[in-house]
Subunit: 302 residues, 2 copies
């Protein structure tokens, strides 16, 4: 039931209408790892940081049973840094700073002990890096999931399509699904994206929930209506962590079980947005998570 | 199990990316009546048209067992006319023409035979007109539902608040809920609106579904993901028709039954948007509607 997680481990500096942080722990790989760690699968992280990355952050990951053997530390370089400011509606944001640093020349290496993992979660990264991980796996994992974003559609579409062809599940947001497919309707968009290779497409609509498609079925999971959204940073990655963590734990890749995985992903994301950064992904447990899961059942049960 | 429907009966001229109509049958009262008629409750319509309103439209309503005794015909005046053009995304539109005509001085009269109705559905109209209907009812109906829009918040807020205080359920869209409450979060918005009087608040999010709130519960119903949305005109009114029609038929006003009513409303709305105007609300039947209802069950069942 091993899960490999690939994604950035980074510094974020975030400004929302509710406050402002300094350089805090961020990155897709971080959110995915922490979120998936609650499914008792000791996520195996593949990523890179610089010499400026504090031990306390690595220790936090280790305390959550994240296997950091695949986390490269380039002591003479700096860690990836992103800074952004959310608008009043919290649905849009401006990127203030992007310093790629170590991520610019990231050459992922799959440790020998990671071979044989049954699920791989490729967080949003260059499709080239995502592919390089897949190509190092001696046995094809039972399930490969990839996240991506519009940035790669703009600058590396051919590479992206090549990687998409290799995966089982792709997750993207509604605007990205429209851009990739050229279709306005999300139903038609999903159909076109399925033709690119994946067996499943997940379209994330933020506060409006998520849609799961295969060739014959559609499933919709709402987002939990919250009184207070503090910081949406990492919500999509946290979703991916809950989704892939639950699947790695259960090893059932049927459409029916994918539905549950989408709801677990949504439940984990609902924790993430309640505080800054990864703050609310620390100190969760089965009981808290299952109570949150139940709220989703109650929300839609009629 | 009688239902009174109050709302405009009108001409619409609609332009979408998919086509353009001449003056076709429209109006909140029309959509609500047709939609609710499928719940076998012979909706009792209160509205007004001008001398230019063709018999064929009135006959269409009658064929759907709509009781038109409360439909005033002002032969020397013209029918309310609205014209609008939808943008490419179908989520926003420009109003091209609004000719109030007979609606500008509409003085609603509740026919004697309408007295005793257990459910009243007040479509979007001046809150003053909505209140005048309530005040003419000798026995307080078991359930009064009102729809409204931002326009009345802008120009007649005091009147609107007075009417809101008199009803059991208010339906509005997400932006209107935010405007009325001054809250960004829909959960907080609903809480504030509940303090204005109604026991239930329904927040419609268009293609993103609908939320039902009472003091202690939240329910979410998705919209059906469609390959093709042809014309959103009247979708909210059709929702209100399905919602109130189902409640008038079942006479069970518990939160649990309201949930089902919201799903029936969403199911009816999903028919509406598939063709121009009221075109797709003609010729439905129980079988077709229940099949659509089942699609909602399948969509969220996990």
């Amino acid at each position: 039931m091993a899960l490999i997680v690939v994604g950035s481990v980074a510094f974020d500096a975030i400004e929302t209408p509710f406050g402002k942080t300094g350089k805090i722990l961020g990155g897709a790989g971080t959110f995915i790892s922490l979120s998936s760690s609650y499914f008792n699968i000791s996520p195996k992280l593949i990523s890179v940081v610089g010499g400026d990355f504090p031990d306390e952050h690595i220790n936090l990951l280790k305390e959550h049973n994240v296997n950091t053997e695949g986390l490269q530390v380039k002591s003479d370089k700096k860690t990836f840094f992103w800074s952004g400011k959310y608008h009043d509606d919290m649905n849009s944001r401006d990127t203030l700073i992007t310093e790629l640093n170590v991520l610019g020349e990231f050459n992922p290496v799959v440790p020998e002990s990671f071979q044989g993992a049954s699920v791989v979660m490729l967080g949003n990264l260059s499709p080239d890096v995502q592919r390089k991980v897949i190509e190092q796996l001696r046995n094809r994992p039972a399930l490969i999931v990839m996240d991506t974003m519009n940035f790669w559609m703009d600058i590396a579409l051919d590479e992206l399509l090549r990687t998409i062809k290799m995966v089982d599940v792709i997750t993207l947001n509604d605007e990205e699904a429209r851009q990739l497919s050229g279709e306005k309707s999300l139903v038609l968009a999903a159909k076109k994206i399925l033709e690119l290779g994946p067996k499943y497409v997940i379209i994330k609509k933020g506060e409006h929930g998520a849609l799961l498609f295969d060739k014959n079925n559609i499933f919709f999971a709402p987002a939990l209506p919250l009184e207070f959204v503090f910081d949406p940073t990492g919500a999509g990655d946290t979703f991916a962590g809950g989704f892939s963590g639950y699947l790695a734990k259960t090893q059932d890749f049927s459409f029916n079980n994918m539905k549950k995985a989408v709801v677990y992903g949504s439940a984990m994301a609902s924790f993430c947005v309640e505080k800054f950064g990864t703050e609310n992904l620390v100190g969760l447990n089965d009981k808290i998570i299952n109570e949150r899961f139940k709220k989703f059942v109650e929300l839609i049960n009629f």
